[in-house]
Symmetry: C3
Subunit: 510 residues, 3 copies
């Protein structure tokens, strides 16, 4: 805890959402502390920091099952003297009573949690958590998106195997590079360092996505595709070979024989490793049925994945200590931050097409009309808004065969955010016209993140859609890019929208 | 911890079963301590009492899922330095092995629990728990009956909003007043104080039950039904509006459209609260699908339910501290208290109808006959007692068309309590005649609590039925009144029965 | 902690797999410490040892649900100042991701567990656990095999009731002696002491197994079968009567009436116990539906099972303290011990039958042929090995009608341990011939434990089959005997096999 402790790095009260949020120096700082803890572990000083976080509490909110990550955080917290409370899986919790993530988060903050580790099936959910509560939040896995402490412990494992440095690392990848978030995050983490080289070989359908490869190359990471696992191993000696579980369930129509054939080519056995020095890493669990790492490989000098698991404890201990070591605590606010109320997702449209709009305006005088609805979806929107049940006098639905669009008009005087989101989910192009006294006073498209799994698209969660523009328009929550391609938006409208966006994810400060 | 600490109030070793068991002074005492803890929370002294309950253990026994209540107690115990252990939900416990509540309770006491918090689906189950174990028991919710710490934290929330007093409170109620136990308990809690006023508006089917309204009026609580939520809000400013989740699943045959219509009238939105000062309370969780509190209302100055959740932690901390602060502990007894063996539910019948009884007596000489069986149920009783399988020589079943009653006679020389309970469940009027040497030596009706959900009616739990008479005959466990209406019991028999009952729930002392 | 503490007994770092591994002195040592803890309990010194295991952590790995055993260990650990972490049941764990027991164990060791308590449905699983990790492992129940801490607490209960001695104990057994592992283990535990006498009465189908009775007699335990429970009780006064839950679900075709009849004869009631002094013990839970102990018996002076539950806490506290009291800890190895890689289960066959083998050898020159396959199973083996999919040129399957055996031949050059196990599961007699350069270079039978429920037979667990020979050939894991009866193995082959086996279960030392 020496070199980097002097560099003024400060993790106090820090959220850990994505590995890309951490700088080179911050990653090295955590590795250095973890390495120090490793020295203590070897010299029987496991409990040396047992009073450091006394009186602090970690809340684990695992909306999806987890033993490994949860246990690792528990161990880290325990060895720092802190407490822990929370839930794992949907059993035994009020989630069955349909509580929102937001309310569950507030509940744990009200219960004096000092830090939250959260896993949730939706991308972007943990950024939302960080927005909702004033205590630090660590991402324990948000959908298919990120799992930054896994990336950190993987980096730490490479660091220990490379004379406590992360420069000039050569790492091999195998198994599933298409679906596993671990190799993505680890690759991105390596991009901070000098001369990182990645070698991989796997089935086409499980290969590294082209866009990731391009992103990595643009960040200075050299990525090489090899033909065989042997080729990869010969390139990465004496560094590491990182295997992940093939997520075969995601390969449609694959037969059992094909699975066996594929595993035969990529499975790691004692034979595979013969004459190689590379350490075998794996985020675990190994699937004992598929046996992507065959049992014979467990008994080689290359096996490094169990120590990697312990590295997870050490790294998380370093992280929790860094975030929570300060004396004070963040009292419960009791309220949601006002910045969370509204999204910044309304793209203002120019009020053109007067004639047509005029016709609607004449009809309804004051109310709401929705045009540019995808043809055939007007009825669904009207049903969702329950126009007829609500008894509004003028809620007809017309079709416009001319431009393949439909529209909805109603005497509603307002739409809730939830209703706007439901409309946008049905028809992303829909343009909302708010009409008052015979005039269109507002005209906008309610933009939604285009990532199907993003938390902002879950209606009952009421997460307001927000974007930022770091060159690309991105969702604040899942950080996926937003594409205007194929939409009838005028360049000026788009420009004005972008001009209103922040350049970065501005933190919510309590 | 000043004013009331001097008044000699003593919570040591106290069971908390019902809010009605607490006096005005006791409620104020807990509020005062909790308010003191709130001051400490604000001045960063959250952990000031961290050594108070060191070495004490809370066992949570949640036979029904709970996150909120359990987490709140956990936090309270943790911040007082105590430990906790237990279960939540039926998963992962021996309940699947059909263990009785009694035995599970004894198991936790044998495991040196110092206090138990229990939730169970049967009314009266927690009084039974308090009878079984010699350590204090807190009711975390018994069926539809009581949830006293929720009432206490609600009272504490009102107390904080009313210059630390509970006199002259005006509170509004909305949502579901028919099925929610929280508003019942809170109303009863308010009855201890000066000039309480309740205003409510909701759908007829979800309205406040007439008998509760009458009970409250009799205790000096003024209850006003208003037409709209707006009317209620205008009456209770600047106090509190208490919303509960509409339990629509209990309204038979309701359509989705009717639900929407109903919610539209009673849902709380930003609009609803405009121009009002009342704090919005809610026991949580809010149902994110129904959204009885719409998201817009979360962002108003009226939102008070998150702070209310933290108040739960503070109040429970005050309660646990008050009950457990003394040095010593209650050693495990190892046995069930002898007072638990027998009920006091046998209504002795006069031995009339000699002639008829004589006929049976002649027939069986020594044995048991059961008369006044509801017509058509004699066979069921004989089956339940397995008269034929048991091989008794004379176990015929006769019918008495004259008075629409059946009877059972047998050469059994004894009936277990469980058998008596099974008979009473089949035919509550059944009269048991114990015949020895040709004479009826005992003749009684085995009275059972008439509340279908009472723990005393669960055969496998073996809870002996007990009653007390505080003007009304009540079940010791669920406290529901027992009605003799429609039963052919002679006034003198009833009088003698009542004379044998205690006037209050006499505690079991270990 | 006086008498035996002086005898140099040392439990440091000890695995507790079977009650039979403990000596007379070791059992008395634990009882003495537990008795001392009982004295402390009575004199309000429950928390006297609260700092003894500070910084130590118990990991509970309950692959099957448990409240009782887990809670008891938790209490013990808590009162010694230690921490605990783990899982119970399959919910909420990575087991759903098909992780092997081996990897889950390594994960908990990597998470700095100091001791593991494990329950698992497979016999022998806990010996495997002890082999895998370098920290002590306590058996919390492995399949139908052993539950040694239950036996210890039962012995301790007898010890307390017999003036702190285990000599001259007379104990009665009732309920289910055929399926319950508790009475087996307790009986075996008693065999260490002077003049133990067992009296039992129950239904034939639930009676004590003949082989256990013989084993006990051979160890000096006198076993008497009595006609009635009353007979048993009169023999064991003033000692103990040990009741277990009748596992009626294991009695095929039993009717409800037969169950009732059976329970009527063996159920313990107040009446049963009248005039007896014997303490009623039961491992709990009592089944509240069957009520093998009727509620009336709970209220007698004989009831001893609740105190027995507390004895479990005291005994486990003594055990954990004895194992973990030393200062240091066992650092995580990071690897599996090399001794775990291979089994010792290959019975080498003499290379007879040259002519026939020669024919195959000619055919395949180099490869593997499997003969002595049970007739009709060759195809299944070929399918399991995926001979056709693997594209080997010569993989025909022939039948040998002459000797009712089939064989498989292939050009495979190697078989994995998992493949060998799969072959042995299909056809235990199968002989593997490894052929290189036209010669049979290896010829063996891959012996598998014959206990269907043994962990070594679960393919995905990859536990290498191992045997030892203490007069009988036994499985290292479940300790069940291996029988050669009916197998065409030559005496010399068998002798050579036995000569290669260790005489005892040699511990794996890290």
């Amino acid at each position: 805890m020496h070199r980097y402790l002097d560099k003024g790095i400060d993790f106090s009260n820090r959220d850990i959402i994505s590995i890309t949020d951490l700088s080179r120096d911050e990653i090295l700082y955590l590795c250095e502390i973890a390495a120090d803890l490793w020295e203590r572990e070897k010299s029987e000083q496991r409990n040396a920091l047992r009073d450091e976080l006394k009186g602090k509490t970690l809340a684990y909110m695992f909306f999806e099952d987890s033993t490994r990550t949860r246990t690792s955080f528990n161990t880290a917290m325990r060895e720092l003297g802190g407490s822990r409370d929370g839930f794992s899986g949907k059993e035994g919790t009020s989630l069955q009573k349909k509580e929102s993530v937001r309310d569950t988060l507030m509940m744990y903050w009200a219960n004096h949690a000092d830090i939250i580790v959260m896993r949730h099936p939706n991308d972007g959910s943990v950024q939302w958590a960080a927005d909702v509560v004033g205590i630090p939040v660590i991402n324990g896995g948000d959908g298919k998106n990120e799992h930054p402490t896994q990336a950190l412990l993987d980096l730490f494992s490479l660091y220990l195997g490379n004379d406590q440095s992360l420069d000039n690392i050569r790492v091999g990848f195998g198994g599933d590079l298409a679906h596993g978030r671990t190799v993505h995050s680890l690759s991105l983490g390596l991009s901070h360092f000098q001369n990182p080289q990645i070698y991989w070989a796997t089935e086409d359908a499980l290969g590294m996505p082209k866009d990731l490869e391009q992103l990595l190359e643009s960040k200075g990471v050299k990525v090489f595709r090899e033909k065989t696992v042997q080729d990869v191993l010969s390139k990465v000696d004496p560094y590491s070979y990182y295997m992940t579980r093939p997520q075969l369930e995601r390969m449609k129509g694959i037969t059992q024989a094909q699975i066996e054939e594929l595993l035969k080519k990529y499975r790691i056995t004692k034979e595979t490793l013969r004459d190689h020095a590379a350490k075998l890493l794996h985020p675990l669990p190994v699937n004992s049925e598929l046996a992507e790492i065959e049992i014979s490989a467990y008994y080689t000098k290359n096996q490094g994945f169990f120590r990697q698991a312990e590295n997870g404890v050490l790294l998380r201990k370093a992280l929790l200590w860094s975030i929570l070591q300060t004396e004070s605590y963040t009292p419960f606010s009791g309220y949601l931050h006002p910045d969370l109320e509204h999204g910044n997702n309304r793209l203002v449209r120019h009020k053109t097409g007067k004639r047509k709009a005029g016709k609607f305006i004449d009809d309804i005088h004051s109310g709401i009309s929705i045009d540019h609805v995808a043809r055939g979806y007007a009825r669904l929107i009207a049903d969702k808004l329950q126009l007829s049940e609500r008894g509004y006098s003028s809620a007809p639905i017309d079709m416009e065969p001319k431009d393949d669009k439909s529209f909805v008009k109603s005497s509603l005087d307002t739409l809730t955010e939830r209703e706007l989101k439901q409309i946008a989910l049905i028809s992303p192009e829909a343009t909302i016209n708010i009409i008052k006294g015979g005039k269109v006073v507002e005209k906008f498209v309610y933009l939604l993140c285009q990532n199907d799994n993003c938390i902002t698209r879950v209606v009952t969660e009421d997460v307001p859609p927000k974007f930022y523009h770091d060159g690309t328009i991105r969702c604040r929550y899942c950080r996926k890019p937003y594409a205007f391609e194929g939409r009838k938006i005028q360049p000026k409208e788009k420009e004005a929208f972008i001009a209103g966006l922040p350049k970065v994810i501005v933190p919510i400060v309590y």
